[in-house]
Symmetry: C2
Subunit: 325 residues, 2 copies
């Protein structure tokens, strides 16, 4: 099986490539070739002996989608996106990358389907951002698509396209709404959601961290490893039984900030927790208050998607990767 | 107020123009000018003394959206669409007209907003087709967008665009999900939904009608007059209180085919009912079984949208218009 990864240089994309290479399989078959694309050239993975094409490519530019699928990859992971803050700040860029490039990919696949019956598995990464307030306390699978951001709108439109192209048989698609990734590795950033990871990551590294919201704030999380597990699981599923429900909210861990902090305390003690400084930020609180707290991801759970066991497990995965266990 | 009607030559469009002219007002203000566009030139309305531009125009062609709003109409009714069967049969046409032309309109408005602060009221006609099975018996306002057709997908994507452009302040938009229109005037057609109107319209005219499904089939209806009432009401509402819920399921009459037939009997007697011939059609039944039966349109009802009082009222409106009361 030839796998194409769009957005292969991103945090999840790189981990997905590593996981596929380590497993040597994708969608239940041997992994025979890789095409890795991103706006910056992805690194070719170590330890993979099959052919690899790793290139910089802007999927929203003319002809790039057709070129991306020229070798007819059997599995396509579409992770390429402009993130939420950037899509809100640059309206045209967000629609071009998150909507038009996704449509260009699906249209290229449809043309190849019409010409030669090509029909790849497409795993599309969507987001909780397709949902907006007012929310029930626990959000069901059938909850309305009502985004509160351009990014969420573009992801919701991508979901609808995916489902329609799948219904028509042009591709065999599944959309995966990822929880907020935690603990996100790397440096602190200005994203409104950054503190959810920062208050774990920074104290574990002996660094101070700022908490801008009350510790009663609740949200929906998955570790980077769990996210990669969702993607690889999605590549091998029998999707016929999904019917029209081609886009699924992934399971996650619903935790309050206070529960995050107690998990940190169990992993690293009071000294680590003491590195968290409360600095209320009304702007961030107003954004975070529009985010969902918990889901009942019944459809995905029934299909075998598995979240982290607990927020302690999320912390433990980060510790194992970055602090030698 | 200058009103632009896109799709002004259609069944609802013509009635909307007549209603606006008869009322002499739109959105609570005097109606001062009309721009009427459709793929065939709409008739100029009688009895309107203000300036009228009535032209054939394909909104999906380059430059047409910009030209349509050149006079900066304060109220825009966007009814132009390729219907369900055609959008399914011609994939490219459906996306071009129902999605791309809608986006071109919104983009033209955004450009005028950026240049000069233009921000019209936009009333977008959507459809129950944004929903697909499995359904609960009564569908709530927060039910998932999960279309079962290309048409429903394109309408759902238009809803999402409308809400995003409204959230960003580029336009002041509201999406109106119309029930199935009944009694639809005109000749019998091949639409899967045609029989819902045909079994009333044809017997009232002394003609035979075919019923292809069991009389236990239930669906959600509004008369043409009620649909026009939704549109004119939407033009004058204060939308600030909608929040992110910019797209609303309209109230309707939930009726079974048996209830339709009893209303026909009360209006026109047993002789009319005897003109209905049962001819089960498995193909039509399979389509109709994927359609919703009833809604709880709480948000629209709270905003003052009003359905027909009963299926008898729906029949009476048709009789009054076509059979002299």
């Amino acid at each position: 099986m030839h796998a194409l990864i769009l957005g292969a240089a991103g945090m999840i994309g790189r981990r997905l490539v590593d996981a596929l290479v380590a497993e040597g399989r994708v969608g239940g078959q041997p992994l025979t070739a890789l095409t890795l694309l991103d706006v910056v050239a992805p690194a070719a993975p170590e330890g993979f002996t099959g052919p690899v094409r790793a290139e910089a490519a802007d999927l929203s530019a003319p002809g790039i989608a057709e070129a991306a699928i020229r070798a007819r990859p059997e599995v396509i992971f579409h992770l390429a996106a402009v993130v939420s803050g950037e899509a809100e700040a640059d309206f045209d860029l967000g629609y071009r990358v998150n909507l038009d490039a996704t449509r260009a990919l699906f249209e290229a696949i449809r043309a190849a389907h019409a010409a030669e019956g090509y029909r790849p598995r497409v795993v599309f990464t969507s987001s909780l951002a397709v949902f907006g307030p007012p929310f029930p306390g626990i959000i069901p699978d059938d909850f309305s698509l009502r985004p509160a951001t351009c990014y969420g709108t573009q992801k919701a439109m991508g979901e609808l396209l995916l489902a329609d192209y799948a219904r028509r048989g042009f591709l065999d698609g599944i959309g995966i709404r990822l929880p907020t990734i935690c603990v996100r590795p790397g440096k602190p950033n200005k994203a409104a959601s950054g503190f959810f990871s920062g208050i774990i990551r920074e104290p574990l590294a002996g660094q101070p961290a700022v908490l801008p919201v009350p510790d009663t704030v609740r949200h929906w999380f998955a570790s980077p490893a769990a996210a990669v597990g969702f993607l690889t699981h999605a590549a091998g599923l029998d999707l016929a039984r999904l019917g029209l429900r081609r886009n699924l909210t992934m399971p996650g861990v619903s935790a309050t900030v206070a529960e995050e902090i107690e998990a940190l305390r169990r992993a690293a003690g009071d000294a680590a927790v003491a590195l968290i400084r409360c600095e209320p930020d009304e702007r961030i609180l107003r954004i975070v208050e529009t985010w969902p707290e918990a889901f009942d991801p019944a459809a995905a759970t029934e299909l075998g998607f598995r979240a982290d066991d607990s927020f302690d497990a999320i912390v433990a995965r980060h510790v194992a990767e970055f602090h030698g266990g």
